[in-house]
């Protein structure tokens, strides 16, 4: 598949090893991967490159995931509609996360320590399918 035909996923995650695991798995599945280490870089990268889906960690330095999601949704048409999957180990309360998700549809969250790689993969495919 040509590079520009691949579906692109942006991973915003500050933990290198976790990021690597998701990136490798998704590349094996045929996705093109973009990486950002914090919400600030993630925001800029998302607006510039317009990936098809964003995997977003919550607890990160400089700018956290919930703030980035809020800001992204206010930017432009792309920012308003790109599907987001929040990856968390519940540093924020579930209530806070649910509020952010309802406010910032289309968004979903899953708990990193609960989900297998294949589980995350499934969710990604599901969310991408919804978009179409």
């Amino acid at each position: 598949m040509a590079e520009d035909k691949k579906t692109r996923i942006l991973i915003v995650e500050d933990e290198e090893v976790i990021c690597k695991a998701y990136a490798d798995e998704l590349r094996d599945e045929g996705f093109a991967i973009l990486i950002a280490k914090n919400g600030q870089v993630g925001l800029e990268l998302a607006l510039r490159e317009k990936p098809d889906l964003i995997l977003l960690d919550i607890l990160m330095p400089v700018m956290d995931g919930l703030t980035m999601m809020d800001q992204l949704r206010q930017k432009d048409l792309y920012g308003k509609n790109v599907p987001i999957i929040l990856l968390t180990n519940l540093s924020a309360s579930e209530e806070k996360i649910m509020k952010a998700i309802t406010k910032n549809e289309p968004a979903y969250y899953l708990v990193k320590s609960d989900y297998t790689l294949s589980g995350v993969l499934e969710k990604i495919k599901e969310r991408l399918a919804r978009k179409i």
Partner: protein, 402 residues
């Protein structure tokens, strides 16, 4: 104190000495003290009360307490007169009324300068000749306590998040390796990687369990109720655990007395309770054994499992033909980290926190749990929830799914 109020209300003759003693007593108390008559009019207040509220006795004595000092709840809403601790005590609905940091809603006193502070209030009615003649309120500023609670809670949340990061990384990497995309593995390599994966999973479960225990201990968890068809919920939990049950080739018997029972519950918490009990049954029963689940309504006064029910309840029975719990260890079953000796022998995993968490959930929501057990025969757990439903509770956090 009562004598003092009695005198003030009835206007008795007092010696200078007695007066001085009473006054010294009052002024030495660090908490705020306010005495009112039967209508709620302020009769006296001590120095601490003045300092905390910013009101001078001149502005308060003879006035109705509710008119001068406003109480607001945490949402900024003014607490109406009838609901105020002083009113409740004077109405005689309870002998003392208390609002504290963890067991009730947080009340905030509004000072004269309009600033607020969180407060713990205790009011006792003064009863003379069987009549309520006044009330004494003692209150203290709990800003510090609330701050400490909040800091503790945040520390625990942050710590458990950080503690889960390395195990999450290990989990994902082992999954990659086991997926075979990083090269073919020998059987032994697969075996070791699977072991790494499960040991790591234990780490994660332990952190989650500790997080729950911590929230339970701090009284910080929330119970939110919704009406649910309880049979559907039970069936769904059992479906989730089907593979674990099948793996051990255990026979599952499921009996619902009635399919349409609707109950007010916090579903995630209810599921946690049931899952824990069923997983224990699975873990502590040898291959080929039986797990029996029964759901039914039991009336007040009926006996079940050597216990008499105090009210009409919905009961879930989880019974197994497993190793049982030795008689001399039964009284420790619900304590933290306790695992019976025979359990440890047969099944080395297990946090030892499951039953503590289950009991805490039920204790906090008006439910009951008890069991009967015989070594090498089996164990039966009983969970009873009143037909009126679980009791709600506001808290800042939820318990984590384990």
């Amino acid at each position: 104190m009562k004598v003092l109020v009695k005198e003030l209300i009835q206007g008795g003759k007092e010696t200078k000495e007695a007066n001085a003693k009473n006054e010294a007593l009052l002024e030495s108390i660090g908490d705020g003290v306010i005495a009112t008559d039967a209508k709620g009019k302020v009769i006296l207040m001590n120095q601490s009360a003045q300092e905390m509220l910013g009101w001078h006795p001149e502005n308060m004595t003879g006035k109705l307490l509710y008119d001068v000092v406003i109480i607001e709840d945490d949402d900024g809403k003014v607490v109406p007169r009838e609901k105020r601790p002083v009113s409740l005590a004077l109405a005689g609905t309870t002998t003392t009324t208390t609002t504290t940091t963890t067991t009730g809603p947080t009340y905030n006193y509004v000072r004269q300068d309009k600033t607020k502070f969180p407060v713990a209030i205790k009011v006792t009615p003064v009863i003379i000749d069987n009549k309520i003649v006044g009330a004494i309120e003692v209150f203290r500023d709990i800003t510090k306590e609330k701050e400490i609670d909040r800091a503790k809670s945040e520390f625990v949340s942050l710590a458990s998040h950080q503690l889960k990061t390395p195990p999450t990384a290990i989990k994902l990497l082992t999954e990659r390796l086991l997926g075979g995309k990083m090269g073919t593995l020998t059987e032994k390599q697969k075996e070791y990687l699977n072991d790494i994966h499960s040991e790591n999973q234990r780490s994660i479960e332990l952190v989650n369990a500790l997080l729950n225990v911590s929230r339970i201990e701090m009284g910080a968890f929330t119970i939110q109720l919704n009406e649910k068809n309880i049979c559907t919920v039970v069936q769904s939990v059992l479906y989730e655990l089907k593979s674990a049950i099948d793996k051990k080739q255990l026979k599952l018997e499921e009996i619902h007395q009635q399919k349409n029972i609707s109950l007010l519950i916090d579903e995630p918490l209810f599921r946690m309770v049931l899952s824990n009990l069923v997983i224990n049954a699975v873990n502590y029963t040898a291959e080929g054994g039986t797990i029996h689940i029964e759901c039914k309504e039991v009336n007040k006064g009926e006996a079940l499992g050597e216990k008499l029910l105090a009210e009409n309840s919905f009961v879930i029975v989880v019974s197994d033909t497993g190793y049982g719990i030795p008689k001399n260890q039964q009284n420790k079953l619900f304590t933290k980290f306790f695992r019976a000796d025979n359990a440890r022998e047969k099944h080395t995993d297990g946090t030892g926190l499951g039953l503590y968490i289950v009991k805490s959930i039920l204790d906090n929501s008006g439910g009951l749990i008890w069991f009967t057990s015989e070594e090498n025969k089996g164990t039966t757990f009983y969970v009873a929830i009143p037909m009126t439903g679980m009791k709600a509770r506001t808290g800042k956090k939820e318990l984590v799914d384990i």
